[in-house]
Structure formats: C-alpha cells, structure tokens
C-alpha cells in the first residue's frame, strides 16, 4: 500500500526501508466496552461459569484456613500443650483439607480454561465470519496484515483475560480480603504494622510494572521491524542478489539489529530493577514481623507463637494475589485496546447486502444491461460516467482501454463487488441489487489478474472453484484450461503441494490454475480480467480452443491487452476515462478507424516500422 512517509526526512539520512510500526496502544478503562466483552460469557452464565466459581471458592477457602491450623492451632493448642493425641487429629484434618483442595483445584483449572477457550472460540468465529461478509471496499482500505493482526493477535491477547484473568481476579480479591480479615482478627496491631508495605506493593504491581511493560512493548515494536525486514529480504533475495545489494542490506540490518539489542537491554534493565524493590518490600514486612511480632508475643496476651507462625504464612501468601491483580489490571488495559479494534471490525457493516426479498438467479439467462451507471471508488473521481451498454446472453464481450479506463470497474460491478453510485446494473432486466447475492456470486466467476494460490495440493487449489467437485471433474477442468500438461510434469502431479502464493509455479502456470478453477465453478457469467496476460501464446491458443466450447451458453466478459485474444468477441467496447468511446465487432471498429483502430495499429507499429 502506498503510504505516506512517517515524517519528511532530509534525503541524506532517509531510511533504506520503511516498515509500518505499531503504535503502543493503551486505552483507558471503558465500562461499556468491558460489559460488551463480558457479554461473551453469557452463553455460559448458567453452566461453566458458576461451576468454575464454586470450584475456586472451595479452593480459596482451604488456602485461607490452613495457615490457622498449622500456625495458631498447631503451635498454641497442640504443641504448646504437648497433646500428642490432638496432633494426630490435626494432621488428619489438614490432610483431609488438602485432599479437598486437590479436587477443587482440578476442577478450577479445568473449568476456567474451558470457559475461556469457549469464549475465545466464539469471539474469533464471530469476527472471522463477519469479516468474510464485508465488501471489497473494506479490504481496499486495509492491508492484509492489519486484518490478520485483529483476528489472530488481538483475539489472542484477550485469551489470558478470559481463561485466567476474570476468574482469578475473583479468587485473588477473595484471598486478599480473607487474609486481611483473618490477620486483623488474630491481631489488629500486628496486622496494621505488617501492612505498612501494602501501598508499596500496590504501587510496584501497577505503576512500576506498567513502565516495564512499556519497555517491553518497545522491544516488540523493534522486533517486528526486524522481522518485517527479514521476511522481506528473504522474499526479495533474488532481486538483492541480481542487484548486488547484499552488503548494503547488511548495513541496514545491522542498524535494526543494534536497535533491537539496545531496546532489549533497556527493557531487561528495567525488569531487573523490579525484583530488588519487591524483595525490599517483602523484607520490610518480614523485618516488622520479626521485630514487632516478637515484641507483641513478649508483651501482650493475644499474640502467641502460633499467631506469629500464621502471620508468617499469610505474609508469604500476600504478594502473589497483589502481583496477579496488578497483572490483570495491565491485561485489562491491553484488552481495552484489543477489544476496541475487534469491535471496530464487528461494527463495520457490509456495504453490499442482500435485498429484503432477493430474487433467485435460477431463471436468469445472462443478459446484462448497464443503465446510466455512475461509479466512484473514492467519491472524488468517477471511475465510470453514465455508462449505458447491453450484452446479450451467451455473447462474448471484450473490454478494451488503458489502465484506469474503467474496464475492471465494469467487471467489478457485474460481480457486484461494489454497488453502483448511480444508475443500475441489470441481469435480464432485474437489478443486481435485488438478486440473491450468494447465488449471484456463484453464477458470476471472475478470473483475476493477480490470482491467489492457496497452500495445499494442486487438486485442492482447483477445487476451490467448486468445493463439491469430484477428482475427475477437477482434472477435466484442468485439461480444458490447458493446465494438465504442466501439472503432470510436477513431481507429484495433482497431489503436488504448492506454497502460499504458489512459489513453485510460474505466473503463467498460476493463471492456468486460476482458469481451471473458474471453469470448474461452471458459472452463467464468466469474467476474464487480464486472465491470460502471462500465458505463452501456445498455451493461450490451447485455452482458447478449449474454452470456445465452454463459453457457449455463457455471457463472458474479457478484459485483455492482447488484441489477438479479443478479436473474436461478439462485441468490443472501447473505454477511456470511464466513458464508452466506441463499440462494435472487430471488423466494424476497424472500418470505423477510431481509437480501436489506433490501438491495433500501435501493436503493429513495431512491425510496420521495420
């Protein structure tokens, strides 16, 4: 995508390559958005959610209760009074509680994860399905990468929140409050003294941690730049070697590599300062316990050795929930950014929609009419100006003109990838906007210039045109398209795996596959948009011969640069700047001696000049 340069730099220190860098997104907490997000829990509000909460309540209760048994009860009541009999009972009781803990822990982990994964599954499904339905205009405005990031990364970043975040927050809050209540009940003086460090701990786990997280986000930004360049240099390695730019690229890469190293070092340094502070806060708490705790044991009645031991346990349990809550809080802020991006997509409405009462395509033969059609991609410049044209069912119509003359736009409107800005496009007199969209698309196949080969076998790639087709049908289509020859020469024939974008295939071979794909779809209307630009003439002839028969009974629209491929058309339409300049058969237009004639001349210019 042609994007503006981030900032204008003097020519001397401009960068050799530019990569889009993510901004570090942080959104303030937003309740309506949070509620919308929590809405995805609703399907499970009577099943998984309550079950998970019960499990975690039992789990937390055991955790909170055991330190009293091991501390206060064990040391004051049992050991202090030298009661061996009670000791056995106590041990049995604690063992029983741990057993309950074992079981509830099992269910807690199992259920919270299940809940989270179901929610994430739902969210991703809704998002992906929605994106499929969006119109071309949506994709025109965005790079593939930015859409990918939302479906994969943004949803992933909500995963932790839903699996652990929400449920664990509940657990941590209960645990924290429980510890406070118990500590204050055991000894409010000691509790108060020990809790001096509480604010420091909260500060560390929120503000301080956020600083560290920012540093890590910088690392991710740098890493993504580094990886973008790596990816690009791998894809463009042939060009680089052809142009001898290995050394220059290495210099650029070294710069990025150093940047990455330095940001990583900084982030690590910030992270490393974290632990001394946590240790410090813990140390202060423990020191107060030792000093003031022993003072209270020696000087007051209600603090005993057992209480002291319980306190030591609780103090040890204190940092974890605070740390996790801080983490969840940070997670929540990130989730705000992610969910905002996800909801932005979900709120995007498909522009091309089915009408209220769609007409079936079944009885449509394929007559196409453009009635005073105006179309603009950007509402600034018209790509088509008041176009009127008629195509008979079963005819082959060729569109001729410069890049940008409106040829592809006409094809796009027939396939209803866009809706007209003014006027109407009609099939057999019915406005395309009233025709069932799904049927329309199934009956209008386009072979596009930049065809996409999916990773999978050749067979699967051709079958993409009609997923229900049998192997025989697929092979028949490949034969008809003239693709059979080269496919058979591949190492595994039709079972050869091709990479995404079809690495091992030449441009011409990819076009042949795409042709086979469209033939398999067996549409009423076939559009060939520069479909054969890179196929050698011999192969093209093969395709032509085979498809002449296939085109019979179908309305076909051909956009091509080579006159030889379009001279047989029933009608040739010459376009310029969104207007129809002239139309007629090859012979008629040659007699006319207009633009078409000029175009033909220009092709033979070279020949005549000799």
């Amino acid at each position: 995508m042609a994007t503006k340069k981030p900032e204008s730099k003097s020519l001397e220190n401009r960068e050799r390559f530019y990569y889009t860098q993510d901004r570090i997104a942080e959104k303030p907490f937003n309740w309506p958005q949070m509620l919308r997000l929590l809405g995805y829990l609703k399907p499970y509000s009577k099943t998984l959610l309550p079950a998970a909460v019960v499990a975690l309540l039992v789990n937390t209760a055991v955790r909170l209760f055991v330190p009293i048994l091991i501390g206060k009860v064990a040391f004051d009541r049992v050991i202090g009074q030298r009661d061996t009999h009670a000791l056995y009972w106590l041990v049995a009781a604690i063992a029983a509680m741990y057993l309950i803990n074992l079981i509830s822990n099992y269910f807690r982990i199992k259920l919270t994860n299940k809940l989270g994964q179901y929610v994430i599954y739902d969210l991703r499904k809704v998002l992906f399905n929605h994106v499929q339905k969006l119109s071309h205009r949506f994709f025109d405005q965005r790079s593939a990468g930015s859409v990918l990031v939302r479906i994969i990364n943004d949803v992933n970043s909500l995963q932790d929140l839903f699996t652990n975040g929400i449920v664990n927050t509940l657990m941590d809050l209960i645990q924290l409050i429980g510890i406070l209540v118990i500590m204050f009940t055991l000894s409010w003086q000691l509790a108060l003294a020990v809790l001096v460090v509480l604010p420091i701990m909260f500060f560390l786990s929120t503000k301080f941690r956020r600083k560290i997280r920012r540093a890590w986000q910088m690392v991710r930004v740098k890493l993504s730049k580094l990886n973008s360049h790596l990816n690009e240099s791998l894809q463009g390695v042939r060009v680089t070697q052809s142009f001898n730019q290995e050394v220059n690229n290495e210099a650029f890469f070294d710069g990025v590599n150093i940047e990455t190293r330095e940001t990583q070092n900084q982030a690590q340094q910030k992270s490393a300062t974290f632990s001394p502070f946590v240790e410090g806060a813990n140390a202060v708490g423990s020191a107060i316990l030792i000093w003031f705790g022993s003072y209270l044991i020696l000087n007051s009645g209600n603090v005993t050795t057992g209480v002291f031991v319980s306190f030591a346990f609780y103090l040890g349990m204190f940092w974890d929930p605070i740390s996790r809550l801080g983490q969840t809080y940070n997670q929540l802020l990130m989730a705000m950014a992610s969910s905002e991006r996800i909801f932005e997509f979900l709120d995007e409405k498909p522009i091309v929609k089915d009408s209220e009462a769609p007409v079936s395509m079944e009885h449509i033969k394929g007559t196409i009419d453009f009635e005073d059609v105006v179309f603009s991609y950007d509402d600034k410049r018209n790509a088509l100006n008041h176009i009127n044209l008629h195509m008979n069912a079963g005819d082959t119509i060729a569109l001729v003109g410069h890049t940008g003359s409106g040829k592809s736009t006409i094809a796009n409107l027939i396939a209803r990838f866009y809706d007209v800005t003014g006027g109407s496009v009609k099939f057999d007199g019915i406005d395309v906007r009233d025709i069932n969209l799904e049927e329309l698309r199934a009956n209008v196949s386009t072979v596009i210039q930049d065809t996409f080969i999916f990773s999978g076998t050749i067979l699967e790639n051709i079958r993409f045109g009609r997923p229900g087709a049998t192997d025989e049908e697929v092979i028949a289509a490949a034969e008809a398209a003239g693709a059979d020859d080269f496919i058979k020469q591949l190492s595994n024939g039709y079972e050869t795996e091709v990479e995404e974008r079809g690495n091992i295939l030449s441009v011409g071979e990819r076009q042949l596959l795409s042709f086979a794909r469209a033939l398999l779809a067996n549409p009423k209307i076939l559009i060939l948009d520069e479909a054969t630009s890179s196929i050698d003439t011999e192969s093209e002839l093969k395709i032509q011969e085979a498809t002449d028969k296939l085109l019979e009974g179908r309305t076909s629209i051909i956009i091509a640069h080579r006159l030889s491929t379009i001279r047989e058309a029933d009608k040739i339409i010459v376009l310029e700047n969104g207007n129809i300049l002239e139309q007629g058969t090859h012979d008629e237009l040659m007699v006319l001696g207009g633009k078409y004639y000029e175009l033909v001349i220009s092709q033979f210019e070279a020949l005549n000049a000799s």
């Binding site: 042609a2 340069k5 401009r14 530019y18 091991i70 000791l87 741990y98 079981i103 822990n105 982990i109 994860n113 992906f128 499929q132 339905k133 994709f139 593939a144 990918l148 479906i151 990886n227 791998l234 390695v237 042939r238 070697q241 142009f243 001898n244 730019q245 590599n257 190293r261 490393a272 632990s275 001394p276 240790e279 410090g280 140390a283 423990s286 020191a287 030792i290 000093w291 022993s294 020696l298 030591a312 890049t403 396939a415 799904e438 596009i448 993409f464 080269f486 990479e499 030449s506 441009v507 520069e530 630009s533 003439t537 011999e538 093209e540 080579r562 001349i601 220009s602 033979f604 020949l607």
Partner: protein, 586 residues
C-alpha cells in the same frame, strides 16, 4: 553439547556477563534460604528465651542482607539477559549475512515461513536459554543444596522425611512434562495453521469473493478454530490433572512434617522454630523440583533450535567468487553458451539440454517458448545464479565461474518476471542497484521506463513509500518501476524477462521504443510471448523443453510453415494482412 560448542563463537565473547551473573546468583539463592533461619531464630532465641534485644538485631540484619540480595538479584538478572541478547545479536548478524549469499538453489526449496520461524522462534528460544535457562539449572542446584544443608543442621530426621517425598514429586513432574510439551507443541502448530488459514483468506480475499467461496471459507476456518480450542482445552486438562497433584505432594510433605516434627517438638528433641523453618524450607526444594522438567525441556529445545540455526549456517554456498577472481574494469557483453545442460537440483527433467549460442556485444537475443521451456533458466545462468550441470557459460570469453560475483552481476541488469519491490520509497526502489544515484538519474531512468508520469501523480511523488510487496500499485506500474531499476545500473548485459506482460498496449509500444534506444551498445536478452517484442532480435531462440527447437532471425523463422515460431506468429498476427490492405486503401 556439540551444538553449544559449535555456536560458541557467538556467546563466548560475552562470557563475562554470564560468569558475573552466576556470581550474583550464588548470593541470591544463599540469602533466599536464610529467611527460615531468621524465623527460627526469632521463635527459639527471641521469644522462647525472652531476649527482645536480639529481635532488633535480627530485624536489621534481615533488612541488610535483603539489600545485598536485591542488589545481587538485579545484576544476576540483568547480566544474564545481556549475555543472551548480545550473543543473539551476533547470531542474527551471521545468519543474515549467510542468507544473503545463499544461492537460488537454496531458495527454490526453502519455505519463507520455515526460515522465518527459525530466524524468530529459534533465535528467540536460544536467547532465552542463554539469558535464563542455563542459570535456572544452576539456581536449582544451589537452592536444593543450600536448603538441604540447613535442613540437616536443624533435624536430620525431618530432612530425610523431606527427601523421601521428593521422588514422588519428581516422578509426577517427569510424567507431566512428557505429556505437556507435546501438547504445547500441538497448540503452537495449531496456532500456526490458524495463522496461515487467516492470512491466506485475507490475502486471497479477491479470489475468495471472485469465486464466492465465503461460506466455504467460514466452514474451513471453523475447523481450525475448533482444533485450536480443543488443543488448548486438552493442554489445560493435563495441567488440571497434574498441577494439583504436584501441589498436593508438597502439601502432604508439610502435613507429615507437622505430624512428625510436632511429635519431636512435643518430646523436646527439636525446637519449635526449627519446625517452622522447615515449613518454608520444604517449598525451596519442592518449588524448584516442579520446574525441573521445564528447565530440562528448555535445554533440549535450545539444542534443537541451535541445530536448526546451524543448518542454515552450515549450508554450502557453492556459488562464490573464486580466490583469484577475475574482475575486469568493464565487461563488453559477449555471452557464449557451449553445450550447456542444466538440471535443477531435486528434479528429474533437464531444464536445458545441450544449448549452444553466442551473443556478441550489443546484440539482441530473443527467447521464445512455452512456459517452462527454459527461457528464464538461460538468463539465470549468465549471472551465475546457478552452476551449470554440463558445458560452459562464458562472458567476454571467460567462464562465469572465474568472475568476481559482484563484478559479473553489476554488469547485468535484470527485469524479472515477478516484480518484487521493497518497502521503501519509489526513489530508493529505482535506485536499488545503485543507492548513490542522483535524483536526476533516477528520474531519467523512470522517464525512459515510462514510469515518470504516474510517479509524479502520486501524493509524494518519488518519496512515496511502498508497502511490503509494493501493494497499491498495479502490475503494470510495478513492472515499469522494475524496468527503471534495471536501467539505472547501466548494465552491459540487459535481461528482460517477460518485462512488459502487464502493461497495456500503448504503454508497451512506448516502452518498446525506449528499449530499442537502450539496447544500443548492450547485449540484450528478451524473453517474451509477443512476436512484436522479439522480431528485431539479431537471433531468436525458440525453446522447447530445454532444447533449442528453432533459431534464426524473424524473417527466416516465419518462412518455416511447420515451425513453432510461425504458429505463434499466425495466432498473433491474423490481422496483419487485412490491416495492411486497409492501410493501403486509406
């Protein structure tokens, strides 16, 4: 271990960070295990002996050693990280340089996705191991040793009780690890599949919509989405099964310690503070034990990552400049093929079989033939992107193998069939082969390639930044930029590989005119499907399955009614006669 030894060059120069980190690790772990000792002292020496003055000493002492610990923890962590980061910096540098020089042969069979995962995940995995993994293993040893020493000092009976419990935990941990790591790998793979699925879907959206396969895509995605969910839940269930058990074993140890220790305290053979100390000490052993499997697994993963990286570094680059490379000032541009036979590695058919021809400086050679007939292969052998299987390729009478590669390739200008443009400004894309070129020269090249007009029309003109893969420009525009790119290097040999297939006819006519001027004084190879592109060539080679089927000039070739060339000519020039008749009539 061999892997680590062979990668030594990358990390050993930074060993000071590693050993510094280890030095501080000793203090960190040593001080950690002292906390229970302070508790014990408080109970046994302060409370039970009613010696309150000692409490102040303990509290202050504790804070002091914790300061030391904090300081040590900082350096232990930071230096450890630095060790890994710096090593990986060197490693990346070496990998990048290597990948830049690997021959085409390597890339014919390599998948970008696989290479990227090595360059990202494996490099990162290796860094993590150097930064943290190795010291975790040492931390484990320190922690367990220190804790055991203190335990034995306090009570050998309880220490043995603890030791008896450890095999149960170790057994569970090992079993867990055996199950959980494949499960994690399955998640990663599933995520990778989902990523590919979505990426293809979005990148191929035009194709999806053109064939109206949205619902099919939704169905296909549901399968991957479901799979990912199942893999996640499967893994979570392993956790749910094992993790509570591990915790339970530790807890059980506490219970046994309480029972047995309580009994000892009641019978006065042990101090209560010592028992309390055990409750902390036991977790210093059980905790690291729980992580042991993780650590060992990290070690084996780092080893595997290292192996995958070494594979790249060890890859032979058979195409290199020879030691006493021939580096002439200027190459005149004579190209000879002497009985050249070429076979792509891993393929059974010959791409070229016994091809012989000669192009004198300044001559134009047209290459025609069906897709896969060997046209591009010929041009790639001239720049020595591959080594020939048999025969010889000579430039200016010298075998290409003798040349310094930069010198040879600098004198060859390529317009490749697939116009890869970089994420850079249009100016830098045109100047790619000649980064020091002046703006005037860039504009001049663009004008000659008929690209100037549309570039001027872009919002930022020559400073417009193109995204990855140069999206946003039409095929024809990309093609013209890459033509300008080839022109700017001012090559002696120019290769036009189907260079004008995506431009419209009028533009092509203009470019052709420009080409004719450009070809003057350069040896030019034109690969084309259109007769009009090659008819002026000094020699046209018509290839069929790697062999030269026909050769000659245009006027000779069209005389052969059975020939391939004549057949193509007839298809493309059906109108010629009619046209000429009409022209005469006008």
């Amino acid at each position: 271990m061999d892997v680590f030894k062979r990668l030594k060059d990358f990390y050993w120069p930074y060993k000071r960070f590693f050993f510094g980190s280890l030095f501080f690790l000793f203090f960190v772990t040593g001080i950690t295990v002292l906390y229970p000792v302070f508790l014990q002292q408080t109970i046994d020496k302060v409370v039970n002996k009613q010696n309150y003055g000692y409490a102040a000493f303990l509290a202050i002492g504790f804070i002091l050693i914790m300061i030391v610990k904090g300081f040590s923890a900082y350096y232990q962590q930071y230096w450890g990280a630095k060790f890994g980061i710096n090593a990986v910096y060197e490693l990346r540098k070496a990998l990048y340089a290597k990948l830049n020089t690997l021959p085409f042969r390597y890339y014919d069979n390599a998948r970008t996705g696989d290479l990227m995962s090595r360059l990202t995940q494996d490099v990162e995995g290796f860094r993590f191991f150097l930064s943290a993994g190795m010291s975790q293993l040492i931390r484990f040893i320190f922690m367990v040793t220190f804790s055991l020493i203190i335990m034995f000092v306090y009570s050998w009976q309880l220490a043995i009780v603890t030791l008896i419990m450890t095999p149960f935990l170790t057994f569970t941990v090992m079993k867990f690890d055996k199950k959980v790591h494949p499960a994690f790998r399955a998640i990663r793979l599933s995520m990778g599949r989902m990523n590919t699925r979505v990426q293809e879907n979005i990148s191929g959206m035009n194709t999806v919509k053109a064939l109206s396969q949205e619902d099919e895509e939704i169905k296909r995605f549901a399968v991957t989405n479901e799979d990912y969910k199942e893999k996640q839940i499967f893994t979570a269930n392993i956790w749910a099964k094992f993790f509570p058990v591990m915790e339970f074993i530790g807890n059980l140890c506490v219970v046994v310690l309480l029972g047995f220790g309580g009994y000892l305290v009641i019978h006065s053979s042990m101090q209560p503070g010592e028992l309390i100390a055990f409750f902390s000490l036991v977790w210093y052993i059980m905790g690291p034990l729980q992580d042991l499997g993780f650590i060992i697994n990290q070690f084996s993963q780092a080893k595997a990552s290292g192996e995958r990286l070494l594979q790249i570094l060890d890859e032979p680059s058979e195409i290199e400049s020879p030691a006493d490379a021939y580096s002439p000032e200027k190459i005149a541009g004579k190209v000879q093929f002497n009985h050249v036979t070429f076979q792509y590695p891993n393929e059974t058919v010959y791409a070229l079989k016994d091809v012989t021809f000669e192009a004198r400086p300044g001559q134009v050679i047209g290459l025609m033939g069906a897709t896969g007939s060997g046209k591009s292969t010929i041009t790639q052998l001239i720049a020595r992107f591959y080594n020939v299987t048999e025969g010889q390729v000579l430039v200016d009478g010298e075998p290409v193998e003798r040349y310094s590669l930069p010198v040879l390739r600098k004198s060859i200008g390529y317009v490749l069939q697939e116009n890869f443009l970089f994420s850079s400004t249009i100016r830098d894309n045109i100047a790619y082969g000649n980064p020091d070129a002046k703006l005037e020269d860039v504009i001049d090249a663009a004008k000659r390639a008929q690209a100037h007009e549309f570039i001027e029309g872009l919002p930022d003109g020559y400073d417009t930044v193109l995204g990855e893969r140069g999206l946003g420009l039409s095929g024809g525009q990309k093609q013209r930029i890459s033509i300008a790119r080839a022109l700017l290097v001012n090559p002696s040999i120019l290769i036009l590989d189907d260079a004008t297939s995506a431009v419209d006819m009028q533009t092509e006519a203009k470019i052709q005119k420009a080409f004719r001027e450009l070809m003057r004084g350069r040896t030019t190879f034109i690969i084309a499907h259109r007769i009009s592109s090659v008819q002026h060539a000094d020699e046209i080679l018509v290839l069929d399955k790697g062999r030269i089927a026909e050769r000659g000039v245009h006027s000779e070739l069209i005389q052969n009614p059975e020939g391939l060339y004549r057949r193509i000519y007839d298809i493309q020039f059906k109108d010629k006669d009619i046209l000429e008749a009409r022209q005469n009539a006008h």
